[in-house]
Symmetry: C2
DNA sequence: TCAAAAGTGTTTTTTATACACCCATGC
DNA sequence: GCATGGGTGTATAAAAAACACTTTTGA
């Protein structure tokens, strides 16, 4: 079926990144404000073009590392958005990715320089084109991921408390997990190491800090969260 | 970020369909044999180009309906494959879909005319390019789907037995489900209607035929199969 | 009559959920 | 001393898994 390469109409192909971060107990998205019409003032995801010599993964990674100054980002493909009229500026096929990044560790100057801003996922501004839908589908995908693997390594500081991790999961699934049951479930996965330090900023008693074990134990075959 | 549309290098964009069918108790894939070098004799998925005025979904649907003579196909996006060197014939970005079709109902003459053939998923011939990986990922996606919704409406005949449905699930998950437990689980979903007819071809006693209820009860919020 | 699939029921195990209760400590 | 989040334990409910057993009938 795939013949006559030369006579085919080529397409503009872009990537859009749904960039998740976690800050002040909130799950957030990194957005850019549009400075030109149409949709001036509306916000957009972190996008870019796909070059001829790179895969869409490469493109998504390139765009995001150059923006945040981070390497070793966790990214995953979400879906292709390709309605012919989705972008008023022309026919552009966009491959959407989501990324999990540590807000504390990324390059704030760089992000500020581009006029980007972090927005709480449950209080997003109007987004251009189909970017709202993209963010929605990406969050669904993140839920899938978090229900099978323990996410947090890329979102939380290296040392975190179980309450912080639970709050992250609360945000992702938009529900309150029972503190005792969550603790039992997570610790039973044997993927965290308890440190001999305590965080006393959130409670009088203080909560133990944990880290992810170095081994790739965040890949589980069984489900960890039902939803 | 998405500026200067005019100066961007466009890409050839194709779709590839991983077409699942179910026949003689086996989960099968519809494949084409390549008649030209390179990789002559190897088999490929059902692919096609994306036209300027259509979405990738439209393209995938168009290619598959024109091949099988069927409409109302169930299709779902799998993933984009875009390594620059994935296709020796040139730089082609391919969006993969999987489809579930009823082998009995499709147009055999049409499929035969194109030299297509159904292959058991666990005994596939060598596939061209990255099509083997595509099939693999598509099966994973189908498992995801089948673990949340009751698949079978598009794969089985309109009237089927619970043993047939169980065997389909056995094929998809490549494990043996317990007959009693599977029956209980499926019937508890309340998505099937038992007919007053029996299929006596597979057993002496005969098994009741079932149909899917007309209402869209094959969308469940909870999980039906754990894996 | 007996092998084999269909169908039902029961037991056991596992997992999830709800929630009681003690701990530590800054205020 | 008490309110607050941290942490542990327990009782209950629900779900999954294992499996016993009965039915039916063609060969």
């Amino acid at each position: 079926m795939l013949q006559q390469y030369d006579f085919q109409e080529p397409h503009l192909v872009a990537i859009d990144n749904v960039v998740f971060g976690y800050e002040q107990g909130q799950l957030k998205l990194l957005l850019f404000q549009r400075t030109i019409e149409p949709s001036k003032g509306d916000w957009s995801l972190v996008g870019g073009w796909v070059n001829p010599d790179e895969s869409v993964e490469d493109a998504a990674y390139r765009v995001l590392t150059s923006l945040t100054g981070l390497s070793d980002l966790f990214m995953e493909q979400v879906e292709v958005f390709s309605k012919p009229d989705r972008d008023p500026g022309g026919r552009v096929i966009s491959v959407v990715f989501y990324a999990l990044i540590n807000i504390q560790e990324h390059n704030h100057q760089l992000v500020d320089h581009y006029g980007a801003k972090w927005w709480p996922v449950n209080d997003l501004p109007p987004l251009i084109f189909d970017h709202g839908k993209m963010a929605e589908v990406a969050l669904e995908k993140l839920r899938m991921k978090a229900s099978r693997d323990l996410v947090g390594r890329d979102l939380l500081p290296a040392e975190f408390t179980l309450t912080q991790l639970r709050n992250l999961y609360n945000c992702i699934f938009m529900k309150e997990f029972d503190p005792g049951n969550f603790r039992k479930k997570i610790l039973s996965l044997n993927a965290l190491r308890r440190l001999d330090k305590k965080d006393t900023s959130e409670s009088k008693k203080g909560a133990y800090y944990y880290t992810f074990k170095n081994i790739e134990t965040d890949q589980f075959t069984e489900r960890i969260i039902n939803f």
